[in-house]
Amino acid sequence: MIRIEALRYRYPGQREIAFADFSLSEGEPWLLLGQSGSGKTTLLHLIGGLLRSQQGQIIIKDTNISGLSEAALDRFRGQHIGFVFQRNHLISALSVRQNLLLAPYLAGVRQDAGRVEAVLEQLGISDKADVNVRELSYGQAQRVAIARALLNRPTVILADEPTSALDDNNCDKVIDLLLDASRLNNTTLVVATHDHRLKHKIPHQINLTQA
């Protein structure tokens, strides 16, 4: 499903980060563990095509995304990858529904109002559909962010520290939500975190150590 081969990345003026090869199969949740600075976010962004790889291959669903042109990569990202960030980053100028519809619009796929309703229903926030995102609580905003990542039925959801700002109770809720949602949508979930509370929730783990 997702395969990483001989992947290396170097920030200007810094040491090169070499990533160990690994491959994930479809629908499996994985944990990407490591301390700050170990390259978790870098790897996540490389897989998500937010960062262009310099060496090595990233193969997602038979597509080597390191070989795609910029425009093709944008399109691929929109259609196959969903992101959940630590800070939810909803578009505050838009309502919840518009935020969700933005995903298919920007990915260039059909905007399906029924799909929006279904996802909101799954995440238990259907009553918030027409609320402006500035009026949401943190927890509600996080659900909207997860809904947005799920909307285009992506191949993989990449979550960057989704729980590190949360207390234990909410941490459990969010990770369960992500696990349930990805199972329900048959999506591979990759969570990059240094949050050890997640270790017993997700058995498949990749440890990034500073080489």
Binding site: T42, D74, F85, H89, A93, L94, L101, L102, L106
Partner: protein
């Protein structure tokens, strides 16, 4: 979700910014619009009103007053001239056509002009209803006069002395309307035409001759040529050939106590004088437009900082760089386009208001609903302006490093 909703949503988040920017630009554009409409229509009017009149001959005084009085009918006469003198000039070999004009009376502020049919022919006037005035005290009225005063063929009225509505009335003589003109968009629309004899009779300078004159005057055939008593106000002259441009004014000014004034020269002089004011206004409007462009640029540029996460998120959802570029560009162009549309509307409303509030505006016959090509250019220009002032912010958005923004927590 589409591009328009996206752009509109961002504008709606900051209503004060948006309204202020649109209004600032609209203010500048409306001043330019008013000036353009005004100068365009006034110069059209001037051109159509002076068409066919090469020279105006009248009593000594201000040449501009002579033109304003006898071509545009917005000033009082400089005085009268002897009919015999006028005849002498009209017989000059360089004069192709001369039209006598006797002024002095009005009705409800509309000037009664004692003249010949040639005057109406000058403007290709046609009758809307009735017939041309033939006999004394018959009048043909202009379309604007008829519609504003609710006149119809067969109505009668008494004239007043001067150009005001409160001058003393010549109650003894009543004019009768025989015809109404079609709108010509010239000064004729505001005229009441009669023959020269009517004006003389009102002022007791003429009794209907029982005998036909032995040698009829070339200007007013019902009286003897070289009549020494009767007077005209002005004589409108058409040149026979270009040579007259140089010779005729000099001939008139030096060999008689009359003065000759050229409509084209005097109107050019007038425009040169009011042109300074118009230029100051235009400059002011241009400054307004530039300030509003700067303000739009700053608003977009400043909003980029708080929007960098939005932009990065949109990229993460599959939006290409170009999409972000276009979104910001459209935002700026929407602002300038809305501003200039509002400005054009305000300009037209201002002209309409001018014509309602100021009575002279009605007579000026300007049209608030007339559109000129320059307005399409202004609209295009505003889109270009929007492009220019949003290009740099849009390019910044285009260059957003999504990895840096999204990892930078």
């Amino acid at each position: 979700m589409n591009q328009l909703i996206l752009v509109w949503s961002y504008l709606k988040v900051k209503p004060l910014h948006t309204v202020l920017n649109i209004f600032l630009l609209a203010l500048g554009i409306s001043v330019v619009t008013v000036l353009l409409l005004f100068s365009q229509q006034v110069s059209d009017k001037v051109a159509s009103n002076t068409k066919g009149i090469d020279l105006v001959v009248g009593a000594k005084g201000s040449p501009m007053q002579l033109i304003l009085c006898s071509v545009f009918h917005i000033d009082v006469p400089t005085g009268n001239i002897k009919l015999s003198e006028a005849e002498r000039i009209s017989r000059h070999r360089l004069v192709k056509r001369s039209i006598p004009m006797a002024l002095g009376d009005s009705y409800q502020g509309y000037r009664i002009v004692g003249t010949t049919r040639a005057y109406a022919e000058l403007y290709n006037a046609e009758l809307q209803s009735g017939a041309w005035n033939e006999k004394a005290f018959e009048v043909t009225v202009g379309s604007a006069v008829a519609s504003r005063l609710g006149m119809k063929v067969g109505d009668q009225f008494a004239s007043a002395h001067g150009l005001t509505t409160d001058g003393h009335d010549h109650e003894a003589h009543r004019y009768k309307i025989t015809g109404i003109l079609k709108p010509s968009r010239t000064v004729l629309d505001n005229m009441i035409l009669t023959n020269v004899e009517s004006i003389w009779m009102v002022h007791e300078l003429y009794e209907a001759n029982l005998n036909k004159p032995q040698l009829p005057s070339t200007l007013v055939p019902s009286v003897e040529a070289r009549d020494s008593l009767r007077e005209l106000t002005t004589l409108l002259i058409q040149y026979r050939n270009p040579l007259a441009v140089i010779q005729l004014p000099r001939f008139i000014n030096s060999t008689s106590n009359l003065q000759a004034a050229s409509p084209s020269f005097e109107t050019a002089r007038l425009f040169a004088m009011i042109g300074v004011g118009a230029e100051v206004l235009t400059g002011f409007a241009v400054v307004l437009i530039l300030i509003s462009a700067l303000s739009i640029f700053l608003a977009l540029f400043n909003s980029l900082k708080e929007r960098q996460y939005d932009l990065a998120i949109m990229r993460s959802m599959g939006a290409g760089r170009t999409r972000l570029f276009v979104t910001i560009l459209l935002e700026g162009m929407f602002l300038t386009c809305a501003g200039s549309l509002l400005g054009l509307g305000m300009g037209h409303v201002a002209i309409a208001a001018f014509m309602v509030i100021i009575p002279e505006g009605q007579k000026a016959g300007l049209s608030a609903s007339a559109f000129i090509p320059a307005e399409a250019w202004m609209l295009t220009g505003s889109l270009v302006l929007g492009f220019i002032c949003s290009f740099i912010p849009a390019f910044q958005a285009y260059r957003t490093d999504i990895h840096k923004v999204l990892a930078g927590n």
